[in-house]
Symmetry: C2
Subunit: 197 residues, 2 copies
């Protein structure tokens, strides 16, 4: 769960990536997606357009790369003392992020740039969610609590939040999140679905 | 649930749409997505490129429109005699369609063409699934059976199938589908989650 398809090169290459990402984020915020072009980004970042084409292929790939970096979590999920509390707090924040205009645009950019062949590979956005949920589950197990499996949390909490957002169904309500998290925790307490079993 | 955002015009307009859709499908199958251009489609369909730009805006919109038509179900879901059997048969077929190369490409095209503003509107692909599930549920209720809510089926069966496919998690197994469908049917039998309650 620690290897990302996004390159993390050092030196000059890292500086170019940082400058291009920053220029892209600024231009997206200032001018909107439809107005931004590779030459504009190149001029702002102080590189040639061919550097961008060589490295990212096209604008869709570059937008996806920037979106993935924006979706990368910056810290561990907050610790509320219980698995159920941690999961609910995380799901609440995740739902809000995904349903924001920026979140929708980022997920759309990431999906758009996925080739059909690459769709069999784990997407960084799913990997981020799995890592955050994995951290909550590990923390709960360390406290001696019964914990649901990450796989179940992906199917029962993450999938409906993202599906509803992507396909225009009503956003998951607070009550939905409570029900979904509670169902996973109940399953952990009563059946072999528990990760500790 | 009966109005689709896809226009269904009659007369000349309908003939143009049919010709352009057919040309697009043929060219996608023959040459692949990266090679197909608006002038190629126009030539094959016997229309001018400007007809296509005027009607669809760009190639992404046209691909999405063609994908939606391909995703539209052609018949009612098969009748196995029970709600659980009907749901499992439908989920099995839906999973296979969505996970095929064509299914992945179609969903990607539909998502790519959704503007951030339009992401609040119900997507035709979600609408197709809701209509099929609605038909199964209505048939079950007519048989006098306990039936789950369509909303629950979307969250617990459709969302994880599509999420797993889109973000590169392992495809839902036969056992996953059985578990998910059974859980919805159990909820219908034992709680106020039942559509009949």
């Amino acid at each position: 769960m620690s290897t990302f398809p996004v390159p993390r090169p050092g030196g000059r290459s890292a500086r170019v990536q940082a400058a291009v990402h920053q220029a892209t984020r600024q231009l997206l915020d200032e001018q909107g997606r439809a107005a931004v072009t590779v030459p504009m980004i190149a001029a702002r970042a102080g590189v040639t357009p061919s550097t961008i084409y060589r490295r990212w292929g096209d604008l869709a790939e570059l937008f996806a790369d920037v979106a993935v970096e924006r979706l990368r979590p910056e810290s561990d999920p907050p610790d509320t003392g219980t698995v159920q509390g941690d999961l609910l707090a995380w799901a609440d924040q995740f739902r809000d992020e995904m349903s924001s205009e920026l979140g929708r645009a980022m997920v759309r950019d990431v999906v758009s740039a996925r080739s059909v062949e690459a769709m069999g590979e784990l997407c960084p956005c799913a990997q981020f969610a799995m890592c955050q949920l994995g951290a909550i589950v590990a923390r709960g197990r360390a406290r001696g609590q019964q914990v649901p499996k990450v796989e179940m949390l992906m199917d029962r909490v993450v999938a409906p939040i993202v599906y509803r957002m992507m396909f225009g169904l009503p956003m998951a309500s607070q009550q939905n999140l409570r029900d979904w998290v509670e169902a996973c925790c109940d399953a952990a307490a009563t059946s072999k679905s528990a990760a500790g079993a």
